[in-house]
Structures are given as C-alpha cells and as structure tokens.
Amino acid sequence: MGNNATSASVYRIAFTPPIAVSLSAELSASADAEDLNVPQEVKAAANLGAESLLYAAESDLNDDGEYGSRWLLVTPSRIVVVGKSVRQFDLRELKSIEAVDHLGIGELVADLGDKKVRVISYSKSKAEDFRKAAILVSELMDLKGTVLNLKVEKPKRKTGNTYAWLFGFLRPYKWKLALALIFSVLGIIASLLPPYLIELMINDVFTARKTYMFVPLVLAALGAYGLGTALGVGSSYFLNWLGQRIIYDMRNSVYSQIQRLSMDFYDRMSSGRVLSRVVDDVSRVQWFLVWGIQSLVVNILTLVGIGLIIFIMNWRLALFVLLPVPIIVFGIPLYRKRAHALYHRAWRKWADVDTLLVDTIPGVIVVKSFSQEEREINRLKERMEAVVQSNMDTVVLNLKFFPLLGFATSVGAVAIWFFGGSQVLAGTLSLGALVAFTMYMGQFYGPINSLTNLFQPMQQAVTSAERVMEIMNEEPRVKDADDAIDLNIKGDIKFSGVSFGYEPYLPVVYNISFHVPAGTTLGVVGPSGAGKTTLTKLLMRFYDPQSGAIYVDGVDLRKIKRSSWRRQVGIVLQDPFLFDGSVAYNISYGLGTVASERIIAAAKAAAVHDFVMNMPLAYDSWVGERGSMLSGGERQRVAIARAIITDPKILIMDEATSSVDSITEKQIQRAVDNLVKDRTTIIIAHRLSTIKHAHNIIVMNHGTIVESGTHEELMKKNGLYAQMYRVQYEEEEKEAQKALSVADR
C-alpha cells in the first residue's frame, strides 16, 4: 500500500509560511524538552553521535504491523527509523514526504525519485505526531509541497466533581436549608415522645393506678402529635420552596452552559439528547437535592435517636433489632453497583426514543412522502421494546433485593416479641417497657426501609447528575483569548491559509486565502459540499481554523471578543430559523427595545415590508414555530431584515439552496442590492445572478479555491464558473421559453 499513495487521502497543499513558522516554533520548543523522551537505547541504535535530534515520534505499531513500538528520529540530515532493525533515509535523496491516511492506520511515504517507499506506519492515535514529522522534514528539505497539518484538539473537559456541583446549588440557601432541617429534627424529637408516654401510661396509670397522671399524659400525647404535625408542615414548606428555587437555578445554569458551548458540541450531541438532559435529568437531580437529602438526614437522625433510646432501655433486646443490619450494609453496595449500570442503560434507551421522536415528528412530511409510516412505527416499537426490556431488568433487580430486606426486618420484630415477651412473663421487664420498645422498634425499621427505598431514586438522581455534569464539564472549544479586544471594525477581511475540518484529518476547506477589502462584495460559488458554508461558520467564529488565520482589519479574529465581533456581523443562514413570536420580535431579535421605525426600515431594506403589511396583524403577526406560517422566501427576507437592522459592517448571506419562484428571487435580489452598497458583504450564492456584480468571486471545489475574479474575468477563463453559469442560464432560458409557449397557447 505504500506505493499507492495517490488513491489514499493525501492532503497536499501549497506551502504557506504561517503554518510552517508556527510549527517550527512548536517543534523546536518540544525538541528542547530533554530529547522528547527518547530512550537511550533508541538513540544509541540510531547512532546519533554529535548530530542534534530535531524531532522524534513513537509509533504504536512494530515492524510486523502489530501493536508494539518503533521510533522515528529526525536530524538535520536524515530520518532514522528504529525498530527491530534500523533504517535511515538521507534527506538529500528524498524528493518529498507525505503523511497518508488509511482506515485505522497511517503511514509516512517517502518519494525517492524512482520509487515511493513506506518510512513507518502507525495507528491513527499517533497520526498527529507523524504529520508534524512530515511537515518538519518537508521544511528541512525546503520542499515546495508539504502535507496539511490539522491540529487535533480533543474536546476539553473539566473534571468537576458531581457532588461538589450539586451542593453548590444549596449554598445560597444554606440558612433556609438549616431552618428546614431544624424543623425536621424537632419533628423527630416530637415523634419519639409518644412511645415513652405509652410506657408511663401502662406502667404508672394502668398498673400502678396513679390516675392523676392519666389526663396530663393524654394531653402530652396530643401535644407531641400536634407539634410533630406542625413541624412537618413547616419543614415541607421550606423544602418545597428550596426545591423550586434550586430547580430554577440549576435549569438556568445548565441552559446558559449549553448556550455557551460552541457549535461542535451540537455536532456531537443531538438536540434531542441535550433536551432530555436539560428537562428530565435536571428534574431527577432536583428530587435528590430536595427530598433525597432531607430524607437521608431525617432518617439517619431518627435512626440514631431511636438506637440510643432502645439500647439504653434494654441493650439485650436491642441487639435483635440489629439482625437485618448486615443485609443492609453488605447488600446495598452490591445492589448499587448493579443498579448503576442498569439505570444508565435505561436512560440511554429512553434518550434513543426521544431522539427518534424529535427527528421524525418534525420530519413527518418526508416520512409521509416516502410512505415510511409503517417503518417509522416499527422503528419506534423496536426502541420502545428496548426501553421496556431495560426497565424490566431494573424491576427484576429490585425484586431480588428489596423483598429479602423486608423479610429480614420482620424476623427481627418477631424475635423481640418472643424474647421480650419471655422477660415480661418472667417479671424482669415491665409490660409498658415492652410496648414502648416495640413501638420504638417499629419506628426504627421505618427509617431503614425509607433509607433502602431511597437508594433506588437516589441512584437514578446520581446517574442523572452525572449526565448533566457531562454537559457542565464540557469546555467550549471556541473561547475568547485572555487578551481578546473589543474592536470597532471597518470590514476588511482576510483569510490566510485557512484549513479546517469538522473531523480531524478530514479537512472540509484547506489553505483558503482571499481578501475582501472593506465595503466590497465577495461572491462565493461552487458545487454543494465544496466548503462554502463552512467558510461562513469560520468567519462567524463558530469554529476556529485548525491552521492559518482569519484577519479582520489586520487583527487575528481569535484576538477579537466574540460578542464584539458577532454584534458587528449580520448573518443570513441558509435555512433561516425564526422563533415562535411576531414578525417584529424576529426582526429585532436580540436587541431589546427597538424603535418601531427602525423595524420598518429594516423590513423595507429587506423588501419584506409590503408582504408584512398584508398580514392580518402586520408586524404583530405571529410567524409560528420556526416561522412555519411563512414561505421560504418570506422567511429568508425576514432573516435579512434581522441581519441588517443593526447596520452591521459585515454582512454574510448564505443563499437558500431551495429554488424560489422568479418573483421571490427578484425581491430577494432587490433586498441584496439594497444592502451591499458600502458594506463588506460575503454572499454564498447558488443563483449566480445574485453575485454577477460582486467585486470579486471565488469559485470553490473540494475545499479549495479553484478560480477567482470578477464575473467577466471568470467567464473569459471558461472554467468551472463559466460552466456553472451556462448551465443555470440555459435552464432559465428553457424555463422562460416554456413559460412563453404556455402563454402562447
């Protein structure tokens, strides 16, 4: 496969100084670091001597293509590969060197003039190191060509602690929480009184006939129950209040995090999954924070209180109470481990159903057009079946554990009746004490049962919290640099050797360089998939280029605050998304209060005013979910009005691919013509007529610029642009003729 480099994906691009310069700095810096951790024996095998080592990379595959180790060392004059054997290549004999990607494996291929040979192969995990090697070697050879270097950045994640994060939400309300807990504790104490009162009643009133104590004891019992109820109401109120506040804070925090994350997050995680985490998982976490913690604390305190009382009353009998404790202590961790895995699986299955619904219901028109209703029903059935199955697995697990626990506690109770009863019969224990003891015991198992029952929902809550944490720990890849500035832009845009891929090693655009002087219009055309829309995403800084840079008025875009930048750029997306609100709301989106006349002016500029005024409530008319009550062309023009209401210095327009009728096209054209004057405008055009008058046009194909120039120049060149233009023109001709012939009839 080494000689077959042309069929593999080789990204050969023209040598651009910015990449090379930054790379050599990077490489030499790393070379300083104690010879890049190259083992002594490798250096010895390479016979380096006094030669300086510029770069070294370890492959994870050995000479036989199995997992192992091999080293590639680069010196100013040669490349040495140290494995079972040692091979070397004199740089003067090399014509070029390329990093070539294959499936799961990559290789460095050297062109020796008469033949191409494989220098070393490596798995994809090491590809980045060898790409750097190839670039360095190319630089060393002073070659005209080099391989593309895409910096592979794994999504960064903070390692936040789930519990620390959760308790963080309680912190602002710690006094309210303390109050709620105090109420709870007092409630517990009140609930511990009645059994003692019963003991006094039986021993002193019924047995010893101290009748004067009868009424006070009854009143004391009434007081204890009354107090317990009042305190219960109080603590419930505070805890519910806390619950509402916390869920509010948490939703806000999660929502602002997902708004903060850059676009790649949404590329990796579908919106259905994000929704499920924001809505369902957060609710479960809320439960944990409010009821979970409260139950935990109250039950543990009750347990300790009763434990103390019964041991003081009769420690021998109390020992029987402890009978089921080993099952709890050893059983619950075992259960937890198993349950954790099962609940995680169940959530995943449920999220699958969610994703399907979010996907197919908005896409219902496609489903119906392809008469795929049956298939979709079956798909949902399958996924629901998986939900049922994984839910049943958790049910079975719970049935194995909890009934056993319940039976063990019952055995403890029976044992008390037997041994305590024997002591009463023998006269060593008063009847009142036994009754009080069994009452306390009943109260002792209550919290144990609650605690064990708590584990199940608590387990779910912790699982949910971890899922939410995954989002919270995600770091936006596109961030403002610490020294980022607010820049009042004039609108001069320069792309310099920009390369970018959504997937590492799969560049969508590479080595793109162009210049748009302030106030001029650039048209971008090319077949679909050529990377045109990606350019707009890079320019909006939804993503950062992996190599090269974008300059605005001579300043690297990465050095400009995103908020400051985006405020000054108007964008009309290919599929303009309108929110469920009025036309006025959508045009003034993100601006707060805007003077009415400004909304009208923007709508007039976007050639949509007349249409809006004909709607029943004019600018107050509702556009429906995603603007569904408007047609594609109307949505497009409302989006144009939204983009330009702030009078941005730069306007980016990604023309809708869908064909619109010629009247709509003219209206859009009118809107565009209104706007481009004295404004830096980049138009991704599908209809070439839109950009005929642009100052400059770049033609893209397979991620690179293949032609550029004005319309006239490009037509003269007779290349891809001229070809595309003729196809569209001929089609329009045909349509016009068709229309004419229909009219003639």
């Binding site: 009415s596 400004r598 009208i600 002016a601 809006v612 029943p616 004019a618 107050d620 209401i645 209104n674």
Partner: protein, 169 residues
C-alpha cells in the same frame, strides 16, 4: 446602503406638521403635511397590538401600497385630526377589549369564551394555546375565525374573570 438611509425614506414626520380630516362616510382621509394636500389616504397600523399609536399614511396606487408619511404617536396630533383619524381607524381595525370574562370552558383543544368587551357581549372560541398570545401584560386572543380580542392586564380584571383565566391558562 445603511439603514439610516432607509429610515430617512420612511418620511417619518413630526405630528405637529400633519393635519388629518375626513369627509363624513368617506373611506379615506385627507392629509395636509407641511401645507401640501394629499387625498384618498388610508391610515395603516404596522403594530396594531404592540404600538397602536404608530401610523403609516398610505395610498393604494397602481395595485400596490405607497407609504406617504409615518407618525410615531397619533395622540400628539391636534384633537380634530386625532378624532378624524380615530373615526376611520375604528372602522378599519376592530379589536375589542375584553372587560369581563363571564365564562371560560374547554372542549378538547378549544377554549370557549363568554365575555363582555368594550364593543358589547360576545361568545367565541379559540383553538390551541398558539392563539392565546401572552404579550407582556396583555393577552391577545385570536378566535377560530381570525377575529382579534385583547385583554389589557388580566390581573386588573374582576375576581371572577381572573379566576377563570388563571384556572385555564
């Protein structure tokens, strides 16, 4: 072209230079702006709900609307002009304000309203939550026949009306 240029082209004029009059029964207004007379003018409200005082004066010419002038606040017109304008507007824009909700019931997806408005008593149905629009302090109702009603500040209604609204919405 900057938005400011479009703003200038709107012909937003000061209310003090506008005189509005209406012949009895006429479907149009006569406008005098800065001493110049315009006949057959129609007032149009671009924001009939959220900013009903903003008025565009237009003429329907050659199959399309031509906007002549705009004013920000019709209430700043002189009283005579305002009453002429309002008299025509009330014929073109019929948005009763609900003063009392006598009954509100649901049948499936429909809400059936029995109300008293500033234009008299009325019974109507709205379908789905989409046609009950919460706009700041107001509820805007669009019934199944596309009639529009407004409740200004539902909290200021009487207790019975409020309880109907709170129970169902």
């Amino acid at each position: 072209m900057p938005i400011d240029d479009f703003l200038r082209e709107l012909n937003l004029v000061d209310e003090s230079v506008v005189k509005v009059s209406r012949e009895p029964e006429s479907a149009f207004l006569t406008l005098i702006v800065n001493g110049k007379r315009y006949e057959e003018v129609t007032p149009r409200l671009p924001f009939p709900l959220t900013n009903p005082d903003f008025v565009i004066f237009s003429r329907f010419l050659g199959g399309e609307w031509v906007d002549l002038f705009m004013i920000r606040d019709k209430k700043k017109l002189d009283p005579g002009s305002l009453s002429s304008l309002n008299s025509l507007l009330s014929e073109l824009y019929f948005i009763p304000v609900i003063k009392k909700v006598k009954n509100l019931s649901t049948t499936g997806d429909e809400f059936v309203w029995d109300v008293i408005t500033d234009r008299g008593a009325r019974k109507f149905s709205t379908r789905g939550r989409r046609n009950i629009i919460n706009d700041r302090d107001r509820l805007i109702l669009i019934d199944v026949d596309n009639n529009v009603y407004v409740i200004n500040d539902p909290r200021s209604l009487d207790k019975e009306s409020r309880s109907f609204i709170e129970r169902f919405l």
